[in-house]
Amino acid sequence: MQQQVPSISQTSEAKTSFWHDPDRLAVFYQALALAVVILVGYYLFTNTLTNLERQNIATGFGFFGKEAAFEIGESLISYSAADTYARALLAGVLNTLKVAVIGIILTVVLGTIVGIARLSSNWLVSRTAAIYTEVLQDIPVLLQLFFWYAIFYEILPSPRQAVNPFSGVFLSNRGMVMGVPESHPAHIGMLVAFAAGCVAIWILRRWARKRQEETGRIFPVFRTSVALLLALPVLAWVTGGAPTAMDVPELRGFNFVGGINFSPEFAALLLGLVLYTAAFVAEIVRAGIQSVSHGQTEAAMSLGLRPGKILQLVILPQALRVIVPPLTSQMLNLTKNSSLAVAIGYPDFVSVANTTINQTGQAIEGIAMIMAVYLFFSLTTSAFMNWYNKKVKLVER
């Protein structure tokens, strides 16, 4: 009996028991978690392999090179049913990007307008904006898509009796057609001039900031930038021969010819996504502007800044810091929600991938591709936004 006493004191001195040593427990828990994940993964993997073998489904991405043999309603690249699956999927990705990019731009514009309208001193305007955000936020986006799509194919008339809300714009159950300027070499010149203007503004801003830091003299950057952005393309347009011819859609036979045509699927998808997401963006913009305390405006006024300068130098930099992170997640939401296109028949990536799955039976590869593409969009957007966030972050001294 006496021999045991020193042995106990020895062990308790040397080390605590296994269950009370946080370091060794940590290793144990992590090993356990990893083992569970690996075992479950292995179990599912073997099950899948046997199931695939039993159903004679080939694995791998060999189907990429095969003929797709299905049509895609609209595509940014030339595509026909004789092309490969790879090209069909690429057309799908481009369609997703098309609706996402146009949608994000329109959403930010509309959301900002509605968000500012909610803060308007005009009772009617602020109430209308409040009702808009409240109602559209609370209705599922899929239901809104179905609703707009139904408006297009059920309510709107055939092209012969198309609704003409503005001159050059026609709404019918075949979609929306719009007049555009006829293509002319001067337009390319205008694009180049616009890009040159952007570069010039970037250089000008750097120069103006440097000069202001050194000499204190302020250069009217904003007005010069606007002037440059407007004047350079106009100059290119005039030197290019000032083409004014418009490509106006005309009714020939059963449909419109000319102009640019948005299919009902695209128009409904864009309308639904933009109206839904803009309601959330409006809330974000409103909260961002309200987060800048009124004292900041008063302090800026007492320094003698003009209202435009107050907005530019005091309010916006602080509001953007609050607005940008949630705005990013709304942009990603819009991109992810564009996958609902499959429900109304717009050939986005998910829709094309879904058809591919149905034709080839290669579900795992198809869904892995869908996930990979959206993950890529998400990660690149958040990487870009993290960079931007770091740029506008408050520099604390």
């Binding site: 209705i139 809104q144 609703f147 139904a150 998910v350």
Partner: protein, 362 residues
């Protein structure tokens, strides 16, 4: 001295009529500058173009209990599509003679929600009441005891299915989300990495890809002969999806708990689990109640996505009604009806969350 106490000889002058009352209000709120005046006129013009025709269509010219033929002849809204098919839209393929059961379950749910809305009722007993109520709802829907015939979950549809997917989705996703959030804050690198990968992976992909996975790939994961009901699979996808979002919300709450709380718990000699259960989580979860409600709202809206994998939730039953040749062409009315249902439910929740936010911040 007395002159000061007497009333002035001249009568009190009232403010001009243009600055008080209705006219004053209109001047102050609608026409206080030339820009606002133009805005007011523009909005009024827009409302005049939209509202009267809508009222005429939706109420004055509308038909409520007619046959489909009369609807096709009339120019107004045909609400008859709702009244004639209300049982199918709300309850799907649930046996008609038994439809009082889902109705009773929904009423029970609404009562529970109204009770929960009142914060003076927030006790531990309310949690038990919720557990009991969920059990009662489940048995009511499922049946198979004291004279109630069994209704398999494959026959569930309409509004009950939407509610089941949302409520069980959130109840099951909540603990999972808390575990994931704790894992993400953990000091153990392997567990932290696993949780981060899971959360970011799920948040990076659309819900629809998970639903496709549940309907197409999940059967491949199972050994031969084992099958899982399609509704359960979709439910699992919604749970896994919602959990990642809850994890991010809970993480925000965990980060808001001051470090001193952790240190105080450590100095009391509490273990990790005791610290979390007794000190950190009660504070963190209270902070995140309002954002959790907004996740509940989006989970409720997101259940509509099961339409794409052909489950008969309330949106799919409505579409099935619309594909009936008799009722074709009345999508607008049917979708407006659904929008009202969703709006009322979501507005109830978001209004409640706003009030909570105000209460909790004081």
């Amino acid at each position: 001295m007395t002159a000061h106490s007497t009333k002035p000889a001249y009568p009190e002058i009232k403010p001009p009529v243009t600055s008080i009352g209705l006219i004053g209000w209109i001047r102050a709120n609608l026409f206080n500058s030339w820009f606002n005046s133009i805005l007011t006129l523009l909005v009024l013009a827009g409302l005049y173009k939209i509202v009267p025709p809508f009222v005429k269509w939706a109420f004055i010219d509308s038909l409520w209990t007619s046959s489909s033929a009369e609807c096709h002849a009339s120019g107004g809204a045909c609400w008859s599509i709702i009244t004639a098919n209300i049982r199918f839209i709300l309850f799907g393929f649930y046996p008609p003679s038994e439809q009082w059961r889902p109705l009773a379950a929904i009423i029970l749910l609404v009562v529970m929600l109204l009770v929960t809305r009142n914060r003076t009722w927030w006790h531990r007993s309310l949690l038990w009441a919720w557990a009991a109520a969920l059990l009662v709802m489940w048995t009511l829907m499922r049946g198979g005891f004291i004279g109630l015939t069994t209704v398999e979950s494959t026959q569930w549809g309409g509004l009950p299915l939407t509610l089941v997917l949302a409520i069980f989705g959130l109840t099951a996703a909540y603990p999972l989300g808390v575990i994931l959030a704790l894992g993400r804050q953990s000091r153990m690198p392997a567990i932290k990495a696993l949780c981060i990968i899971y959360i970011e992976l799920i948040r990076g992909v659309p819900l629809i890809s998970l639903l496709f996975m549940s309907s197409v790939i999940f059967p491949l994961f199972l050994p031969e002969g084992v099958t899982v009901n399609k509704i359960v699979r979709a439910q699992a996808a919604i749970i896994l999806f919602t959990a990642a979002y809850i994890a991010e919300v809970v993480r925000g709450g965990l980060q808001a708990v001051p470090k001193g709380q952790f240190e105080a718990a450590d100095s009391l000699g509490l273990t990790y689990f005791q610290t979390m259960r007794l000190v950190v989580l009660p504070q963190a979860l209270k902070i995140v109640i309002p954002p959790t409600v907004s996740i509940l709202i989006s989970a409720f809206k997101d259940t509509s996505l099961v339409v794409i994998i052909a489950l008969y939730d309330i949106l799919k039953t409505t579409q099935a009604t619309l594909s009936n040749p008799k009722w074709m062409g009345f999508s607008t009315e049917a979708y407006i009806f659904l929008a009202v249902i969703y709006f009322v439910s979501c507005f109830f929740m978001s209004d409640w969350s706003r009030r909570l936010e105000k209460d909790l911040s004081i």
